[in-house]
């Protein structure tokens, strides 16, 4: 599991890096999306991995070590929401810039050759 998650984070983050270094706004936003997946899983992994131990405590007498760490999950939840919002914002700016500048370059103008 661990190695898979590590590689997963790596692949997504690497793809994200590649994309955010590209010149077109859509590439950038795609990169941001991939990076946000990577980062979310990364945060999640910081609570270590556990299978079938959802943090749902149906009785008061429990052993906390038998549950997945709920804190990173809560953090990821917040991060997902914020990531969603900011992606939306960037999207709107992206199309706004395309309309206003006539270019989909991330700098809002075509680079001079």
């Amino acid at each position: 599991m661990e190695i898979v998650i590590a590689l997963a984070v790596g692949v997504m983050f690497g793809s994200g890096i590649w994309l955010i270094l590209r010149p077109r706004t859509f590439q950038l936003i795609t990169g941001l999306l991939l990076m946000s997946y990577a980062v979310n899983i990364f945060i999640f992994a910081m609570g270590r991995l556990s299978v079938d131990r959802p943090p749902i405590t149906l009785s008061p007498d429990i052993d906390p070590s038998q549950f997945a760490d709920p804190l990173p999950q809560a953090l990821v939840l917040t991060a997902i929401v914020i990531g969603f919002a900011t992606t939306a914002l960037y999207l709107v700016i992206m199309i706004g810039a395309r309309g206003l500048t006539g270019s989909d370059h991330v700098d809002g103008k075509e680079p001079r050759e």
Partner: protein, 542 residues
Amino acid sequence: MNALPFLQHFIVLPILLPLLAGALLIPVKQSRYTLKFALSVTNTVLLWLLAAALLVMADGGYWPDGIGVYLAANWPAPFGIALLVDRLTALMLLLTATIALAVLVFSAKRWDRVGIQFHTLFQFLLMGLNGAFLTNDLFNLFVFFEVMLAASYGLVLHGYNLQRIRAGMQYIAINLVASFLFLIGVALIYAASGTLNLTDLGMRVALLGTEDTWLLAIGVTTLGLAFLTKGAMWPLGFWLPGTYASASAPVAAMLVLMTKVGVYAVLRVWMTVFGDGAGALAGFGFTALTIGGMATLFFGAVGMLASQDGGRMAGYGAIISSGTLLAVIGLAGGPVLASGLYYLLGSTLAMAAFMLLVELTDRIRPPGAALIAITMEAFAIEDKPEDPVGQGIPGTLAFLGLSFAACALVISGMPPLSGFVAKFSLFHALLDILPTDGRIPGLTWGFIALVIVGGLAAIIALMRLGVRIFWASGDIAPPRLQFTEAAPITALVTFCVLLTVQAGPVFDYLDRTVAGLTQTSTYGERVLQEPAVTRMPRQEAE
């Protein structure tokens, strides 16, 4: 039943008030400017009073050891989110409220009408700023950073034009990526230390094993990079000049404050986590901060010299100020930090005033005309002397010129205003603390030299700009100036003057602030032992 004393609630109010005001403003129709403005200003005045009250309370007026803790949702500290007020926080809150009030009044006649929801976003921005200053929890800091940034995205694009959207794209993209770094950093810190509470982290750091220490250091470094991107450290702050130059004046003034949040966060985290009690990590990264700060300072100085318009120049001025502060944090030591904070106050106020001023001077002289003036200055050296009779200066122009000069003096650190006092006290403190071998290290000398050179660059650039705006503009119609535009600038400049004149008392306060900051153990006691209010019994049925 131990109810929470009412005054204790003051800690959360700087976040709550703008939240509620913002929420109330959302459904109000765009056409009701006056109502919106009134609500917004009233709330900001309240915030100012609140900040002033907190300042008094934190300075021994209510909390004897200068630390007020508020357990949001009533959960004890490392578990729930704790808000913390000390002298530093209170100071930053007051600074924020001051600039915010000035900016709001300034925007009353024009800027709140060019787009929608200006006041809403503005209130949310205040909420984010205040939250970032108040919170003692790293992830909560992220949330408030995002609140602040999200609002600033909206405000940067306020008045939507080509330039703004170009700059906005850059600003937003970089901050989005920086936010990822923030998250990575916080997550690593949690993985290594098992806590998110900053004070708790400071308590735990010495007890960590080697692996955890390694992870923690990486985490904090990553977090630091996120802060420094927002604080515009070289080479992470290239977004800043363009953004400042294109944002509308009131927004640019608020942005000035926002770079300081990055610096503030660095200061908080580093002071708390890597203090003397940090075991293997004591003093971690301070030198890097100094070097980064100095590089930033240099870049800002060079940028000032290279820029020809006020907005951009102010942007580089903000970079200089960030660089100086970062280097000061890096060169840490009690009295130096106090000087750094004093510098922060003065430069932020002046820079904010300058941002507002730039917009007014652009009315005299549209930025396009500046280019012509440059060539004029460069080539018309043997200009035929004209009639030796001076020209009268209209009152508004005199006002602008005077304010410009005052801002320029503060920004460049020329005597006699607060910029100079700050610089002097910085140097004084740096030379006054001696390392054990009695020799001032080269880095300190380098820093002093850089600050002086930076100030020089600033004054050369600002003088060039000022001469071009006020002297070389030929026959100009005096700009129309609203009272609501002049008053905030006057107020901000007056604050700078007051800072200069009252340097003694201000420094007394700052010395107490810094003395408090270095008492990590006090924070530990106060934050981690702050009792929750007794809960009402809740689960009796089950």
